[in-house]
Subunit: 705 residues, 2 copies
């Protein structure tokens, strides 16, 4: 789920990352430089030329506005869309799973049983879910860059840039009453101000059983053909009532056919297409191996703990899902980077850009930029282990610690000017911070102890048991003893305690004498220091990427799109099957295929079906299209994105990419890489015949009472 | 299974490793130096004094001979015992699993279904199982040490020691017709020649379903209370007929009672109690983290591959079991080493021995020995990554490569004098080598490719993609492509091809042009070189440990036992429950408890029961004792060891240690650490009432027709 690998079988068919067609033509002697369905386009720079030339389609301003204002960002990490005028929001089950997990207790396991609120009164308010709808974009590049002068040291430059971004956000937020974020695009080539309508009262309306949402489990994840009803419905509220929205996506009367042009409007999280070779090599040789090592370890830890009892399994379920999903995605991406053909193509691209850039008037400065990135990346490589272990708290582990640190830092940061605070404590972020901090999410001492204990072992392994900070943290105990002591002793598990401490000041925090807060304090000096040092190097990279971006625009033109940044993008693609060996994989699956696959595996997990799906099989129209694929350019974070047709109607919902699509992190290809969606017709058929959800069908199809 | 961790809860009750009582008395002020049930004793130096003093028991020579000659080593990694005069051998299911796995194909899954040969004709010959029975021990320390002189360089000394050991083994083998191994004891303090009767025609007689043998799976592994029928029966054949043995263990008329003295005669694989602090720190900081990282990775790889289909699961089952078992054991052992109390106690022991040794006549030379171990260990630490990746082939992976390398090296080694060959190619080892090389074990291209591909990624990660050898090995392909090419191309999967190449010479190997053989050749220079360099450092350690052992004997006396070496040892212990928190865990479980535990977990895997066990429940006497614990000193490798009573009768079979026993690797304790066995009565009850195995019951109880 949430996309990302490639299969070695397809390696001969590599298309290097699509830059401008002129550059592509230099390498792709076998593949003519046809216009590809490539791009995660900015809404303020949509791909109008390519759409017109390749697909004969020109979106109107009204079309763009409706699709944009129907697109929803799930701040927990995914996408969604408004699908009724009463604020109904559709996303993936695996995006909603975080909220579902937090509703559970020993007697309620909504991930397992599903959920359906037949009345508004039954809709369940999520503990800490924030949704955003993008209201407008403004280019603030000039203002951001003007704050940084050539005379500044890197530290001063980083501080100045942080300060001006905070100022812009605060001014805009005060003026508009909206959530305002300055977004760094092109790794520092541009800065845009994004204004969002923010919803913090979000209620759960419907979720199917995880077993049908994620049918086939880890084996089928990132695979196709596929048979998943990966959907979940929420409703946005304001002032205790469902919102009335101006824009939402009408449900299409029919699904999709092969060859259809479709659009995907969502929030791709992160791509690495415009990184320099130095950064790609860092990802390949250092970053991915580290992340995979940690994910393998966590997967084993959580799997074996989950197997001990059904209640353990319930408590760890969404966390384990995230770990497995991340592991499969990262494994695929690393396989991509270990392919010499990909590396050769990326190197050739960089060489061509560097050669072209050298002939520009400011060529020398631009050329130096690649070295500056490499040097900054080396510095980051040296700093990164401490950053991961201490600031990202991989070497500590558990939710209690994160809460404790937020409380500790909130007291410290509050007294500073807004522009000097850590980003998450800026005024413009207060609502989101407090939503998370005061979440009633249930926490479990046993799981917290497991994670903290494992984190401390990881810390000792990575920094060495003799490291003074490690010794201080362990306080003469074994990691397991220390974790048990800390978890048993801390009061941050109580939301009331958090509220009390949040309302106090640094002295109040100290007086509380809470062991987890004291642990956070022990770590804080070193954690802040390494964060600051990395931010300084990131500033050097921004400056360098600013010059590289300028060269890219000069050479390739500005009809381009930046790497993904978990902000709203418009992608487009063609509904299309694809070749695999001597076969061709069909563009869509049906309900009949679901039952066949379950039967092939003798209904054994993860290929078992919920009882309801076995009972209702005879009612279903088994020819209903279930999942389909298209060539749209997506990546993790796009999960839950609506797929819309030329009329701007909802025809499907993205929930995955196939294994061949994982390499889209580095390079677009439409040979085999495909985005995978649930068909809109399958959703209606299931709601009607499996879940008896007539009210929802009426609301979705606009035929409500 | 096969033992090894500890729980932090028990840490306050640490008993440091039991050396002589005089030294113990120095630390254990809270714990009086009572005689502990400690020790993995050599059969030529049994613990007669302690047995007499503590338990009032003196084993006769005849008692010792019968138990020794009824004890069986499974060279695949475990223990067993002769239990009938017709060569019936009892071991654990998880020891026999390797052989069961190799019998399987897409239509036969004996691990799942179990197996029972009702007639001799149905007994299935194992592909490559070798059993050994110890016939005699001879101390050859003087002769081994005499071959090494002070004037030799470390390289020369290592070569001289290898040569003399090979000579002793060859002479003894020619003289006796037995398998002869020189065993290094006390890390180099003594050398003993072990003569074994060797069985290579071993046939499977009976195995229950893995689901009852390993009921509770990974969650219950290394835990107690426990409910496992972890048994498997083989029969030794010679000249096509069952052997008639002079010695075997008669089945006891009753099981065990709390407080009973019992003996465990088996093959503990490896302990680290007499290692210096320098070596323990190496284990803690380098070795265990490496091994765990690899095991976590393999566990995730094999689990996710197994989940894809039932046939995948069958193919990888025993391998995955081994990985999970090793991971749980190593995690526990590392937790032990991360406990400051354990480290403090071990350090104090070393300090005391060093202080005492310094006052001996040769004190200075002895004192220098600890530094010599530390320096050699540092050198090994530098060499070890290459050794693991190349010589132990972690960076290559799969069975095909191992076969190819054996073929390549056999041709090279054959021409050398016996004493100069790599150990596994010595004349005395030829029978065992050929048994493995020509095994008809089924190999699967898909699993081989998976493992080889993962190994190559691991190699690239650990040595760096730019390493010249890595580049040569990958040959311009991605790891996945390269693995697929090699596995598809090699012919070593054919036993006939192996026989042909084994019969040829180096030129014949070269002419074969097999890609896997060529890969083995690419790696071989570097692999041999690092192996030799490590062997030189190991020689320096042997010399140093020789001096440390001499000091130990001088200070503590010789009434002692060496660290485990996967050779036959006699342990003894008391059948006894143990305290856990405020509770006391009873010494035994019953069949009733099995059904209760399954019901508690709603019969969900891994707590599901085979159909036969559900159907036959009503026939079983549910009060039958099932598993029991005792204080005997055991470790991995002891799996399958017989538990015998004072009369030398079979009362049970070791199959595990509890989680608290994992720390026995470093230090004996009887506070909570326990060995876990299947009760002899439970075996008879199951054979009678669940498996209708009347013939077997008659043979085991000596009441055969």
């Amino acid at each position: 789920m949430r996309l990302n690998t490639m299969q070695t079988r397809s390696l001969t068919a590599w298309r290097p990352a699509g830059l401008a067609a002129t550059l592509l033509a230099l390498t792709l002697t076998q593949h003519p430089p046809a216009l590809a369905d490539e791009g995660m386009w900015l809404y303020n720079a949509p791909p109008t030329r390519i759409l017109a030339e390749k697909h004969g389609f020109t979106p109107t301003a009204a079309w763009l506005e409706r699709v944009r204002r129907s697109s929803v960002r799930f701040n927990s990490g995914g996408s969604g869309s408004l699908v009724s005028e009463d604020g109904l929001v559709l996303s993936n089950h695996h995006v909603g799973a975080d909220a579902l997990q937090k509703f559970g207790d020993a007697r309620h396991d909504y991930l397992k049983t599903g959920f359906y609120a037949r009345t508004r009164a039954e809709e369940k308010k999520c503990h800490d879910l924030e949704l955003n709808v993008l209201m407008g974009i403004e280019d603030v590049t000039a203002r951001v860059n003007a704050a940084v002068t050539a005379a500044m040291t890197p530290e001063e430059a980083a501080a100045a840039r942080r300060a001006v971004m905070a100022k812009i956000e605060k001014e805009a937020a005060e003026q508009s009453g909206l959530r305002c974020d300055v977004v760094t695009l092109y790794q520092g080539g541009q800065y845009h101000l994004y204004r969002y309508h923010r919803y913090t009262d979000v209620r759960l309306v419907f979720a199917p059983e995880q077993q049908i949402a994620f049918f086939g489990g880890d084996p089928d994840n990132f695979e196709y053909p596929r048979f998943n009803l990966d959907i979940c419905l929420f409703r946005a509220y304001e002032n205790g009532k469902p919102v009335k929205v101006e824009h939402y996506l009408p449900w299409a009367g029919a699904g999709v056919r092969e060859g259809d042009l479709v659009f995907v409007s969502g929030h791709p999280g992160n791509t690495s297409r415009q990184l320099t070779m130095a950064e790609l090599e860092y990802l390949r040789d250092t970053r991915f191996p580290y992340v995979l090592q940690r994910l393998h370890r966590l997967e084993v830890l959580l799997s074996s703990w989950s197997e001990r009892s059904q209640e353990n399994g319930r408590r760890a379920r969404d966390l384990l899902f995230g770990v497995q999903n991340g592991r499969k995605a990262r494994t695929g991406m690393l396989n991509g980077l270990l392919d010499p053909e990909l590396i050769k193509a990326k190197q050739a691209q960089e060489n061509r850009l560097r050669t072209a850039a050298a002939s520009l008037p400011e060529g020398q400065a631009i050329s130096a930029a690649w070295n500056q990135v490499a040097q900054a990346q080396q510095a980051i490589a040296r700093l990164n282990l401490d950053h991961l272990l201490l600031e990202q708290a991989h070497g500590i582990g558990g939710t209690h610690f994160g809460i404790a640190r937020t409380l500790l830092r909130a007291a410290d940061e509050r007294d500073k000017p807004n522009g000097e605070r850590l980003r998450e404590f800026r005024d413009s972020n207060r609502t989101s911070l407090e939503l998370g901090l005061f979440s009633e999410e249930p926490l479990y001492d046993d799981l917290e102890t497991l994670l903290l204990s494992d984190g401390l072992v990881w810390l000792a392994e990575k920094k060495g048991l003799g490291d003074p900070l490690v010794q201080t943290i362990l306080a003469g105990q074994s990691p397991r003893q220390r974790a048990a002591t800390l978890v048993a002793g801390t009061r941050v598990k109580s939301v009331a305690f958090r509220r009390t401490l949040y309302a106090t000041n640094a002295a109040g925090i100290q007086a509380a004498g809470d062991p987890m807060l004291e642990l956070a304090r022990l770590v804080d000096t070193q954690a802040r220091s390494v964060r600051k040092a990395i931010e300084t190097q990131e500033e050097l990279k921004r400056q360098a990427y600013g010059r590289i971006a300028a060269a890219r625009f000069a050479v390739e033109g500005t009809n381009s799109f930046p790497d993904a940044t978990f902000t709203l993008r418009l992608a487009f693609g063609t509904v299309s099957g694809y070749p695999s060996g001597t076969d061709r994989i069909p563009f869509q699956t049906t309900y009949a295929g679901l039952y066949e696959r379950a039967a092939q595996h003798e209904y054994q997990p993860p290929f078992d079906l919920p009882a309801r799906w076995l009972e209702r099989k005879k009612r279903l129209d088994l020819t209903t299209p279930f999942n389909f694929v298209c060539t749209a350019d997506i990546i993790g974070g796009n999960s839950g994105s609506p797929v819309v047709n030329r009329q701007g109607e909802f025809v499907g919902i993205i929930f995955d990419g196939n294994i061949e699509s994982l390499v889209l992190d580095f390079s677009y290809t439409d040979q085999q890489a495909r985005a995978v969606s649930v068909n809109s017709q399958a959703i209606l058929e299931a709601l009607r015949k499996v879940y008896d959800a007539r009210e929802l069908v009426a609301e979705l199809t606009g035929k409500r009472r």
